[in-house]
């Protein structure tokens, strides 16, 4: 009877192996091989978690990582090109939850969707993990998310117990002028970035993502530090110099008196994606130059 038992074991083993093979094959078959993402943050995440080769189309405003190179562009939040998206025969499209029309059209075409919306800092690792599961890169995604979470914790520790300077985070304004100036309000991931980097947002009483700030508001808030964020990479040092001179019109601001007006450029600063730790570190280095921050 020993031979019978061995055979049964072998058979059971075989069944397990076959089942596992079927499962894996099935899993691979489920992972979408043709992904379209019109959201810069999501595109970055996809490439960071190893789903890059599966991406067949990106949004018009995506410019990182360089690997997206010559991939076809299919529009963005306001102007998604439905035809171009359909022409790529995707089996997963990532879009904004607010793009109702696009959602309806793609659903009718039977294309699976991943709906995204900008959230807080804490939502970034969550989104990464979700995307990982959806695209069959759960393991890599988890690693990326963990790295981010560790990174965030590291920054928080490095700047803890330090004085938090009152900071104004300027998102946009008219060229060479302080008019029509928009700054980060008390909600949204840019506010979170600022706070994590060890600053106190002077506009944290206003529960909006972006606030149009008047001269009077700035004078009354009297920030110690002003950080201006620009996504365009092409400002020359001379131009930056001229733009910073504009602040001399408000000499009563501590930030102006102590020359704490800083210009930061780069798309990592406004995209809630894999480079977020790098971005927040840049903020933190500005605010706390002597903190034990991991340099990258």
């Amino acid at each position: 009877m020993a031979t019978g038992a061995t055979t049964m074991t072998r058979l059971r083993g075989l069944v397990v192996i076959v089942a596992w093979l079927v499962f894996v094959a099935d899993l691979q078959a489920q992972a979408p091989q043709r992904i379209v993402s019109i959201i810069p943050a999501v595109t970055e995440i996809l490439f960071a978690i190893g789903a890059g080769p599966q991406v067949v189309g990106v949004g018009s405003y995506d410019n990182y990582p360089p690997e997206i190179g010559d991939l076809p562009r299919v529009g963005g939040l306001i102007d998604p090109d439905v035809e171009a998206i359909l022409a790529l025969r995707p089996n997963l499209v990532v879009l904004y939850i607010t793009q109702v029309d696009l959602t309806t059209q793609l659903t009718r075409a039977g294309i699976p969707l991943f709906e995204y919306s900008h959230g807080t800092l804490a939502d970034i690792p969550t989104t990464i993990r979700r995307l990982g599961n959806r695209t069959g890169h759960a393991a890599e995604a988890d690693k990326v998310a963990l790295d981010i979470e560790d990174g965030l914790v590291g920054i928080a520790e490095a700047v803890s117990r330090r004085h938090r300077p009152r900071t104004l985070l300027v998102i946009a304004r008219e060229p060479y002028s302080l008019r029509n100036l928009f700054a980060s309000g008390g909600s949204g991931f840019q506010h979170d970035m600022l706070e994590l980097a060890g600053a106190k947002n002077v506009l944290d009483g206003t529960m909006r993502r972006a606030v149009q700030v008047t001269t009077e508001m700035i004078l009354q808030a009297a920030p110690d530090v002003i950080i201006e964020v620009r996504t365009v990479e092409r400002l020359s040092p001379a131009e930056i110099e001229k733009e910073m001179e504009v602040w001399n019109a408000l000499p009563s601001l501590p930030a102006v008196q102590n020359q704490n007006v800083i210009f930061l450029t780069g798309s990592d600063l406004v995209i809630p994606g894999p480079r977020i730790v790098q971005a927040i570190t840049r903020f933190a280095l500005v605010l706390h130059p002597d903190a034990p921050l991991p340099t990258q």
Binding site: Y61, L77, D79, I171, A172, R173, E174, P175, Y176, S177, L178, R179, N180, F182, T206, A210, V211, Q212, T214, T215, E216, M217, L219, Q220, A222, T231, V232, K242, V246, A249, L250, P251, S252, Q257
Partner: protein, 368 residues
């Protein structure tokens, strides 16, 4: 003098004929029984509306989300850079009030002049494409980052001024193409066409810009008096000064222009010169005002009509009175804009539209 019983019929040449109409409603500043005195009416009107403008200018800088007191503002013991009240008063609020005065007065008088030039009560300072040109100029700078900065004056106002003058030149050239002088019909058609054309280009530029830029341009289009200092005002002042000097030569000729070109010419008016001066001065005033604050609507059409209701149609009174009321109105709207949702602000153009729009509808209904 009377109400406007005649509907604004634009190009229609046939007036409505009413046999033995009833007596007209007396205006609020009636001319005395047998004495006809322009000086007296002018003094009363200017005293009233001018006083209103001055009061508004004095009160406005004191109102705002941050409580300040005049005592602290003028407290010379505290150095300026540390006196927050003084900073807010002199850098934020006073320039705002002054900008409101200048822009309100300019747009109101420009409205009067354009209405007289085009002989159309529905004309506004923006009818002939000047504002569309200004908007396009501003938009191009914001979106394409064109480096148009000059002598410490920022790029956007310069570009919008150039845009408005460019639009005015195009419209003027088209209207004077034929050697017979200036055709107001061609002026109107060219202006309206240019408005549409520029609007299309503006839409295209907005389409190809990113979120931040689109948002910026949309906010610029809503109008903003927060000039943040005296420098923009000083930059606009020479242009506005020239425009107002030219305005000063127009009132009586504009009265006669109401009769029609032929009738005015037969009474000795140099029609071509008057039309040129009117167009140039009103376009210059509008262009400078829009480059200072962005396009703010409803002032150029509501104020002239309101003034005419009160003082009659003599441009010698209508023009200065409109300047004063326009100034007071815009400053008041700006105060409302920054008080209604304090500390956040509504765009001032929204307030002028919300008050001006219903009022204008009421005006139209009242005429029937």
């Amino acid at each position: 003098m009377a109400t406007m019983n005649n509907e604004p019929t634009g190009f229609t040449k046939r007036p409505s004929r009413r046999l033995s109409a009833s007596a007209t409603k007396a205006p609020l500043v009636p001319s005395a029984d047998r004495r006809w005195s322009l000086r007296r009416r002018l003094t009363v009107a200017l005293g009233g509306f001018g006083g209103l403008a001055i009061i508004t200018l004095i009160v406005a800088p004191l109102v705002g989300p941050t409580p300040i007191t005049l005592a602290r503002v003028f407290d010379t013991s505290v150095p300026f850079t540390e006196n927050v009240d003084a900073q807010i008063f002199f850098i934020a609020r006073l320039p705002r009030a002054l900008a409101g005065i200048l822009v309100g007065a300019s747009l109101a008088v420009a409205g009067v002049v354009f209405q007289a030039l085009l002989r159309n009560p529905l004309a506004t300072p923006f009818t002939l494409g000047v504002s569309a040109g200004a908007s396009l100029g501003a938009m191009l700078v914001i979106t394409l980052g064109l480096p148009v900065a000059m002598v410490g004056i920022p790029a956007v106002p310069i570009a919008s001024l150039l845009g408005s003058l460019g639009a005015a030149s195009v419209v003027y050239t088209m209207a004077t193409l034929r050697h017979r002088g200036l055709s107001t019909t061609v002026l109107l058609l060219a202006g309206v066409t240019l408005n549409s054309f520029f609007s299309a280009i503006i839409m295209f530029v907005q389409y190809s810009s990113d979120f931040a830029q689109t948002f910026q341009t949309v906010r610029w289009l809503m109008g903003n008096l927060d000039v943040g200092g005296f420098q923009p005002i000083l930059a606009a002042l020479p242009l506005l000064g020239i425009a107002f000097v030219m305005f000063g030569t127009l009132p009586r000729a504009l009265n006669l222009l109401t009769l029609g070109s032929d009738s005015a010419a037969a009474r000795g008016v140099d029609i071509l010169r008057v039309q040129r001066v009117a167009f140039l001065s009103a376009s210059l005033a509008t262009g400078a005002a829009v480059s200072l604050s962005g396009p703010i609507g409803f002032i150029g059409i509501v104020i002239p009509h309101l003034i005419r209701l009160v003082v009659g149609a003599d441009h010698r009174i209508v023009m200065p009175a409109s300047a004063c009321l326009g100034a007071a109105f815009l400053v008041a709207c700006d105060v409302a804009a920054r008080s209604v949702m304090a500390p956040l602000e509504l765009p001032v153009g929204v307030i002028t539209a919300l008050t001006g729009g219903p009022f204008f509808l009421w005006l139209l209904v009242r005429q029937r």
